[in-house]
Amino acid sequence: MTSAARKISEEKSSIDTLLAEHGMSRSEYDVLLKVLGREPTLAEFGVAAAMWSEHCSYKSTRVWLKTLPTTGPHVICGPGENAGVIDIGDGQAAIFKIESHNHPSYIEPYQGAATGVGGILRDVFTMGARPIANLNALRFGDPKHPKTKSLVAGVVAGIGGYGNCVGIPTVGGETNFHASYNGNCLVNAMTVGIADKNKIFYSAAAGIGNPVVYVGSKTGRDGIKGATMASGEFNADAESKRPTVQVGDPFTEKLLIEACLELMSTDAIVAIQDMGAAGLTSSSVEMASKGNLGIEIDLDKVPQREPNMSAYEIMLSESQERMLMVLKPGREPEAEKIFRKWELDFAVIGKLTDTGRLVCKRHGKNEIDIKVEPLVEESPLYNRPWEPTPAQPAVDANKFPLPKGMNVLGALEKLLSCPDLASRRWIWEQYDSLIGANTAQGPGGDAAVVRLDGGNKALAMVVDCSPRYCAADPVMGGKHAVAETYRNLCAVGAKPLAITDNMNFGNPEKPRIMGQFVGAVQGMKEACLALDYPIVSGNCSLYNETNGNPILPAPVIGGVGLIDDVTKTVGSSFRAEGEAIFVIGEAHGHIGQSLYLRELHGKEEGPPPPVRLTVERSNGKFVRNHIHSGDITSCHDVSDGGLLVALAEMALSGNIGCAIEQEGDAAFWFGEDQARYVVTVKDPDYLQEQLEAAEIPYLLLGQTAGKALALKGVGEVELSSLRTLHESWLPDYMSH
């Protein structure tokens, strides 16, 4: 080195302590020594530890993620960029991604969730898109666990606090409760944006000598080592990790969106990348690496919130609402003017070089001087040992009839008011779902529908996963998560286009957990191929374990579909009385892993319902086509809780009852067999003909009528009393 920066052996902490603190293994450290050919500085050590963390390097999962289908005729950009990009016609592109903020949200729920939303928004607008919708997938522990209530309150307020202020509608999501999340809640946030297909911005740096520019908020000491923290298990002192959580400033984010989009409307930007996990480190390394260039940064020029920050701190801070850009030479004044107008920091902090090295100076000393390529390419890659998940023995539905003294409607009441099926209104009323004046369907339906400005075209969006299915059979669970989003999109009349995945798992160093991951990837792959439904972006969150107890695996899928004419979409509410109600798709009364089995018999047993992908595809297509043609007036997929729950949800949301002629046992009403939809039509004969012609199994269930749900041979229940049960669980729980 030119001037003598302090070597790591001169630091107060021993190398073993530093390795443990940074989650770096001894063998990884040896690679670092070899790359440098000398002892690192603390800053170099920190940069390498962050880049090689599980969070940034995907070192345990890359070998498997590579096997996923990521291409298709409409895919413009698959995984590897800030977000995935698909062609939606008319010169437009949809840009979207889902990302987890699990560990921070458990430690500090409001800020953890808020910055999760902020981070995913940046991933999308970084690519030149104006965000049009947010969604989220949340999982919390047992409602009886002492921490659950405060986590729910904090996470929901954080998501709302950020999204509402930035002014992007939060249009959909899902929330589950299960004891396996007692020590690790899951907070996955998804953003969808729209861009001009010919004006998409990428992160690969280009042009030796081009200025490297920092914009947004100042850098502080918050979130240092966040990526490392998110790459380890929790133990009893999770609370002590609070300083690693960042603080969100949605107001600045809103200004940053407007300023970036304003600059993007010129041609001044060569490359742009947001500063997410591992902050300035990952953004500068990734930009340089993608462009096969070097980058030189004067850390003294980085806008700083606090005095005396070290090179290590500046490089590893995860302060929010910051971006790194490479500009065309000479365009700095024009860019600066825009950012100043929006009252944001703007600083030229360095330039691109032909050395292939990351060089960072602080107070005149070279604190970092390391080859870029090995930080990305030579990051460790593990093919971790894995064990397949043993198959669960089948469950005989006959052994689990309705509990004594309870009829089908009694069971329905119990299910509709259980934590996993009770109304989420308390949550989504805290989100502004309508801003933008384009929300055709907000929270509460199968998929959200948001119209695009300037026409009748709309996007449908959904997030979904059933972790209990994945735990019982990861392959089927992975298939199911993909198929379920496909079904949700078809249920609003959308053509499913592509997905983003958020892989939430436990500790991959345990073969059992790695086996869950491998199985889920395999199932997802099969589903993506069979449904022509590629994965264009994603994120992994591993080490979701506390004191050795892993979460139920959750490969959360975010799906996006296209609707040509928004006026043709249907919702899941009954529309009018006197319409015929059909269930489309075949059922065998599968109760393994059903909510019926769990909530009424206290058993979490059996294999999940089998997913038949060819059937999913053909049933989905049938439903979609008959929504377009106007035959179907409302539609709801059959999922958690089974057929009767689906019927009740349609009746409640439309405030129109139904008279059901079909009779059946508990497995008939509550089995969770797949690829099924409940639809209403004005002309039952015509639909019947069409179903027969398409050779799709179906049942005519009855018709919409009155203000009660009436079952032949059983009795009836007033919608008002069902509604009270369905709507009151969550607000009651949160207010006591």
Binding site: A157, G160, G161, N164, C165, V166, G167, D249, P250, F251, T252, K254, L255, K341, W342, E343, W428, E429, Q430, Y431, D432, S433, L434, I435, G436, A437, N438, A440, R451, V566, T567
Partner: protein, 220 residues
Amino acid sequence: MNAAVIVFPGSNREGDAVKALQRASGKKPQIVWHGDSELPKVDLIVLPGGFSYGDYLRTGAMAAHSPIMREVIARAKKGVRVWGICNGFQILAETGLVPGILLRNASMKFVCKRVTLNVESSDSDFTRLCKLKQELNVIVAHGDGNYFAEKDTVKAMQDNGQIAFTYKDNPNGSLNNIAGVFNKERNVLGMMPHPENAVEPLHGSTDGAVLFDSVAKVLA
């Protein structure tokens, strides 16, 4: 109708207001940046919803002191129609152009839901096409919409016909279910609900359109 929509840093429903105004009048309103001290000659000024300055101080408190607001106040006093929606209402209250203040919702939570309003006065340019007590199905989306004013102030407002709208089901704890108020001259309207999000079938209700149609007709 010549309308201007003022944009503050953190405004986020200006686009929705623009669309609704254009729909009613056929004319695109001008968008005016808060830092401008010049305000074009217009006959309607709209302060849109959002979180001006992040709402980090008191809602609307910072925006009320931005350069453009001096001009807005001057125009309001000359009789130009000024319409503050949500954050715009909070800003109007901070400037004193309309009486009262907006407190944190009684639930202490942000609330986004459909609400039914009762029109309490059809004697204004904003409500000219409404019938008295007409019900309007619109939406609210706010964290600080809990209207409060001193007893005497409320009494005076009632006497002057300054209550514009009340909620049928109070979503935020507002005193006397007040959802929107006028100044004494009734050329300034502040309201928490978002009529701009209920103007076309896609919104599930078109009841908000009548307010835009009213001003558009009066100012045609």
